[in-house]
């Protein structure tokens, strides 16, 4: 041992057996290289994580933004009386007898005149020209006529949705190569589209209907919107908020403030932490078996979705509420008890108000989690149909079949037409905007009201 050191005169060259500190020995160099490598792994891991986030966000934005724009065709349509109202008496019952098929010829005629007026030469038949429009165009005409019979006989300017192929062509999704085997559109039609774009009759613009509108059938991706499913999500969140917040807070108050330390409380606590980690689909199975098969609540109803999501969100809310109750110092409780308040009064009058911001933050985060959850909704039937009618009352909002935002996105992702993919990505943008808003509110609440005792 002693050979390591020998006495030396002060301030003179080192005599240590280990050599000078100013010279790095080979082993230290090797160890420092290992150190640098290790640190680089860490940086690489962070970078990979960030890169993934970046790719994901970039991917969502580039693919989804298109859904907020839609291609429209502006046409002047002559609403011929002899086609729409043969009797000429504007009787609404008689007008209703003319189906959308009766309106289709008007569109063809309108196209023919329009193209002649613009001086575009094409070999296309009028029917093929009208194929540029969405299949919903005749219904759009009919709705206007039924709501205002006086327009019959006049010439009106309409803005029709273009068919999804035309829309895809303008957005670069559809090209002349890709439509080789497509029965819905031909190269000649695309030529016509080019002419109409130059002439200004076909335009791409912001499409509010995507945000507020209803889902549409497989054949009309251009008309599909998120609005109704957004309402479905809204009603589900309403149920979750009304049930999960009071129940969650009550359960937390009991466990944190009143529960004696015994085996029953232990079981409840272990239970809650386990429930928080149970796969969400299991809650879907529970909902299907209990709420639908056993209690016969209506399938696809936001009420059932809300109940399932309530059970799923409860553990999250309980865990965060307990944390904020725990953060209130015991001195507050003692102070209240000291002036003669009962235990219950001290909790409800003093502890709970002080813990409220934390509880609210936890609840918002729980709601955000529930808003994005999809799997349980598949099992209680909130997919696989067209959520077409917005609910007209609270009861119908809760009980009528509806979809929800994530379920609607799933529904679109499953459809065959790639035009729906764009809408699915667009739907994701809307969903994420909601989640970002909710989380931002939670962060602001936490920042503003966070108390350090």
């Amino acid at each position: 041992m002693t050979d390591a050191t020998t006495p030396s005169a002060p301030g003179i060259t080192p005599v240590s057996g280990k050599g000078s500190l100013l010279v790095q020995d080979a082993r230290t160099r090797k160890r420092n290289a290992a150190e640098a490598r290790f640190k680089a792994y860490g940086i690489a891991a962070i970078t990979v994580g960030m890169l993934m986030l970046l790719i994901l966000v970039f991917n969502i934005l580039t693919r989804g933004v298109g859904a907020f724009q839609q291609t429209f065709v502006t046409l002047e349509v002559q609403l011929l009386e002899e086609k729409l109202d043969k009797k000429g008496n504007r009787n609404i019952e008689d007008l209703k007898k003319v189906s959308t098929f009766g309106y289709a010829p008007l569109l063809r005629g309108a196209f023919e005149t329009e193209i002649a007026r613009m001086g575009i030469e094409t070999d296309l038949k009028p029917k093929a020209m009208a194929g540029l429009l969405s299949a919903g165009a005749p219904a759009q005409l009919r709705n206007l006529v039924l709501s205002d019979p006086d327009v019959i006989g006049t010439v009106q300017q309409f803005e029709f949705l273009a068919s999804s192929r035309v829309d895809g062509y303008l957005k670069g999704r559809v090209s002349r190569d890709s439509i080789a085997n497509d029965k819905n559109i031909s190269a000649e039609q695309l030529d016509l589209v080019d002419h109409l774009v130059t002439a200004g009759a076909i335009k791409k613009r912001f499409n509010l209907d995507f945000i507020t509108g209803a889902d549409s059938s497989d054949a009309r991706p251009e008309a599909a919107g998120m609005g109704v499913s957004m309402l479905g999500s809204f009603f589900m969140m309403l149920v979750v908020l009304v049930l999960a917040l009071p129940i969650g807070v009550a359960a937390s108050i009991y466990l944190e403030e009143f529960a004696p330390k015994n085996w029953l409380t232990d079981i409840i606590e272990v239970n809650i932490s386990n429930l928080a980690a149970v796969p969400s689909i299991v809650f879907g199975i529970l909902g299907l078996a209990v709420f639908i098969n056993y209690m016969h609540l209506p399938t696809s109803a936001p009420l059932v979705g809300g109940l399932v999501l309530t059970l799923m969100t409860l553990p999250t809310i309980i865990i965060s509420t307990r944390a904020s109750l725990k953060a209130v110092p015991p001195s507050i409780r003692d102070a209240a008890l000291g002036v003669g308040a009962s235990k219950m009064q001290s909790v409800f009058h003093h502890v709970l108000p002080l813990a409220a911001p934390g509880i609210l933050t936890g609840t918002i985060i729980g709601l955000a989690q529930a808003l994005g959850e999809t799997a349980p909704l598949l099992l209680i039937g909130m997919v696989g149909f067209i959520a077409s009618n917005p609910p007209d009352s609270i009861a119908s909002g809760l009980l009528d079949p509806n979809s929800a935002m994530p379920a609607q996105i799933y529904e679109w992702a499953k459809r065959a037409d790639p035009a729906f993919y764009e809408r699915a990505w667009g739907g994701i943008i809307i969903l994420l905007l909601f989640l970002i808003t909710m989380n931002t509110i939670a962060v602001i609440l936490r920042r503003r009201f966070e108390r350090r005792w």
Binding site: P10, Q24, R27
Partner: protein, 265 residues
């Protein structure tokens, strides 16, 4: 007192191991160490005493550059070991710390076996060529730390299973296993009971034969018992430095006297 006179004679023969000049330490905006000059001798136990927060531990951590691990800490001035500036840009703290071992306030054995605790330093510094050499190093270190007899039959038991005093001696064994030249001890007995403290103090006295030992302590009795030189720190400054006997019996500075008589700190 008799003992102390003998010790004083020892002191005079020893060379200077660590030379500090104009050392300043800042923690963020706090000026923690103010212009400290001190020369620490080889094969001597030097005690740093002073009230809590006086900067004695901070200064100790400058000697093996442990302050580098704290982001906000900044060290200025000049500290030389064997004439080499340890804050020179060419100095690798890793090599420095192999030369300047450290024992901490709370025993902190790694959650490994006793053997692996002691073998940790030699392994990372590559001090052993093979298993039997390593075994020798471990045994020597444990013997030096006066704990060999207590643990030789359970070298594979976890180090955290030992008693507090044993843990601290294990940590000292761990520190001497890397064959350092200086041993820094930051209040090594503050978490120990009196019996364990006595054992560790005895050990410190033995260690003096091979190392330059610097010990921070809040106990004046301990400083008097184990050290030959004592430095008194107050509010970040070095107030007085000298022979232990002199500091305790005949301090020059009134502040030192107040502290020793229990009026401050």
């Amino acid at each position: 007192m008799n003992d102390m006179r003998i010790l004083e004679r020892d002191v005079e023969t020893n060379a200077i191991k660590i030379a500090a000049k104009g050392v300043q330490v800042f923690y963020g905006d706090t000026h923690a160490i103010k212009d400290v000059d001190v020369d620490i001798q080889d094969k001597t136990v030097t005690a740093f005493i002073g009230p809590s927060g006086c900067g004695k531990s901070t200064f100790l951590r400058c000697i093996n550059r442990m302050n580098d691990t704290i982001d906000v800490a900044r060290v200025q001035g000049d500290i030389r070991i064997d004439g080499e500036d340890i804050y020179d840009r060419k100095v690798d703290p890793v090599q420095l710390r192999a030369k300047v071992g450290m024992v901490f306030q709370k025993p902190n054995p790694f959650p490994k076996s006793i053997y692996d605790n002691v073998a940790y330093g030699p392994r990372i510094h590559g001090l052993a060529r093979n298993k039997s050499e390593l075994d020798d190093i471990v045994e020597r270190a444990l013997r030096n730390a006066a704990i060999w007899n207590e643990v030789k039959d359970r070298l594979n038991a976890p180090g955290t299973g030992l008693s507090g005093g044993q843990q601290q001696r294990l940590c000292i064994a761990r520190a001497v296993a890397t064959e350092p030249e200086v041993l820094l001890m930051d209040e090594p007995c503050s978490a120990l009971d009196p019996i364990a403290t006595a054992q560790v103090e005895e050990l410190i006295d033995e260690l003096r034969q091979n190392y330059s030992v610097v010990i921070v302590t809040h106990s004046m009795q301990q400083a008097a018992r184990v050290s030959q030189k004592t430095a008194f720190f107050h509010l970040g400054s070095l107030v007085e430095y000298g022979e232990t006997g002199q500091i305790f019996t005949n301090p020059e500075d009134p502040r030192t006297e107040s502290y020793i008589t229990g009026r401050i700190g």
